[in-house]
Assembly symmetry: none
Homo-oligomer: 192 residues x 4
DNA sequence: TATGAATGAGTTTTCATTCAT
DNA sequence: CATGAATGAAAACTCATTCAT
């Protein structure tokens, strides 16, 4: 009883830290956010931060976990709510717009990738596995939407690249402006 | 005369610096490359480096200039060599594959974007203008390739997003595997 | 009754802590052993550790007490078992070899001395008194062994220095290799 | 010319740093001497310290080098000045007394050994090689002094252990008090 | 008795930048 | 033109110690 109460507190504190870190990473970039910054924003000491996370990489890992989970959940929910007679281009376009619109999260997305390929093999593995997951989810969603399910894999790959590219462009403020047009382009031969 | 001679030397030295910096940025990441590293790789002193570039941001700007020029040139050359009866999907697919295959440059590409949106407003402007340029070049190329030029803008936007996304994915080692399939998907309704 | 029961438990817990600490000090060096390490190795909390020992110095003092007692006991036992017609060089050589062979304890021995002369006046006093004791014990042993008891004090001093030096050298992996030869050298003029 | 001048300055600065570090290590113990302490004592910045020594281990290595050289020189000089008809016990006793009397250097000696066996494999190798050297020097000196050169190796081992043990005891303030007596004990059978 | 969350002062280390020569 | 010595501000991280429960 005791113990579980404390454990809850622990989980709670950790998630408070993750949220604060995420916010700062998004606002000023992860590279330019020091552990002091995070501690200060939570009004705790650096020592306390280290009590919960024994290194910056550790904390970053959980931050990225939380970020990837958010995207996974969004895709999952999307796939779950699909029904047959829905226009693929509209439905997909809507999700993309949504993902691109969380402009500032893109900064974090970008950083996670950069960190992955530069410094952090563990994070890289985790990130690739997330991408794998997303690919599967997208395929499942498309299988519901499309008549011709033969090209589902290609479609899914295309969409995933577009998601990444779109997030980057949006964050840069060079967002794709004609998503609807692009969607109708892509799905032209596949009306629901 | 004198002066211009010096200027030539100056330009030469600067470009040597840019090349060395680029190489290091690509190899070990820009964040993890110190000015000492660059100076050492050129066998010059840090002081000399500062003689040519008064700050790291300054140097980064020129590095990115050189990087963007390389991409512009590639697109320019591509657009120039297009002739009418060429299959759009093949031609475009070839360029994409090429851009994606320079895997390690992607690290630099990614960093430039990250730096742009995090720290460096000037770089951001420059980068956006490069993207604008690329968009135009792609449009021009597509105009030659495609019959139905009505959708050229949408196509160009799509391709540009795909370039960014594909570079990122390739760098991450999660590269798109079915570019040909994707190309035929996209251009299905637009045979040359 | 109550109280003494508690006291027993107390003594027991303290000695468990001392043993764990000793083990870690020997394995990884005292300087590199944190109180967290010790607590973890006992599966108790740091708070509990502080319940029994109000500071690291406090704990170290008891650890050293236990270590010195071990040596004292060894010398005591040695002196007790001596009988007259025994060859001094052999008998002494055997003890030395034994003391030198506990290679890893040397790390602790060394640390105790270093700590004594650097930081910890109290420990220093304690250590000197232990050395005094050992000197007396050695003298007593030698009185039994040797014919000419005139030089016993010099012999004892020599042996004690050799013990310290030998422990250090052994720990360093530069152990004395010819103890027997050295012994016969020293005791050449003093056959039993 | 230029360059060599600068090199001289460099060597000079490094040796200034070594001297200051040595002094502090001796005064307050190496473990308790931070790089800030050393920088402060030299009125330079920490950055400057790192300009000359890229890590604390690096600096320690040079400090220990300088310390070991000092001992080597002393032994060398001793061996060089020996002539045949000199009483071994007196001559050796004098050197020992001298080595033991530099009481505070013992703190450094002790620390070097402790650090060697705890943390620093490189230092350990260096230290062992120094001890090897000293052993050779002592052997050479003894060969001159003693009639019966058969036991020279044993004598040298014995003396080296005594040096280490004696340095430790002296530093602890429990110095051997009867060195002369001990010497005559050891060399009893070997008059010059 | 026992806990573990919290702290803060300290450590080593990095690096862009300045400047006298 | 070129140098490299010097700096200082900041970073990540450690750990003995305290204390409310």
């Amino acid at each position: 009883m005791r113990k579980s109460k404390r454990d809850y507190a622990d989980v709670d504190n950790r998630s408070r830290i993750i949220d604060a870190a995420t916010e700062l990473f998004i606002k000023q970039g992860a590279q330019d956010t020091s552990l002091s910054d995070i501690a200060r924003s939570l009004s705790i000491s650096k020592g306390t931060l280290y009590y919960y996370y024994s290194s910056k990489a550790d904390l970053l890992f959980d931050v990225s976990e939380s970020y990837m989970t958010r995207i996974s959940n969004r895709l999952l929910e999307w796939a779950k709510n699909l029904k047959k007679p829905m226009p693929a281009d509209e439905v997909v376009g809507k999700v993309l717009k949504e993902l691109f619109s969380a402009e500032n999260r893109g900064k974090l997305h970008l950083y996670l990738i950069y960190e992955s390929i530069t410094n952090n093999e563990m994070l890289k593995k985790r990130l690739i596995s997330a991408y794998d997951q997303w690919l599967v989810m997208i395929k499942e969603g498309l299988s519901v939407l499309m008549n011709d399910t033969e090209k589902v894999t290609e479609y899914a790959e295309l969409l995933l690249i577009m998601i990444t590219g779109g997030i980057v462009h949006s964050t840069l403020g060079f967002g794709p402006q004609r998503i609807d047009g692009i969607m109708s382009l892509i799905f032209s031969g596949n009306p629901a």
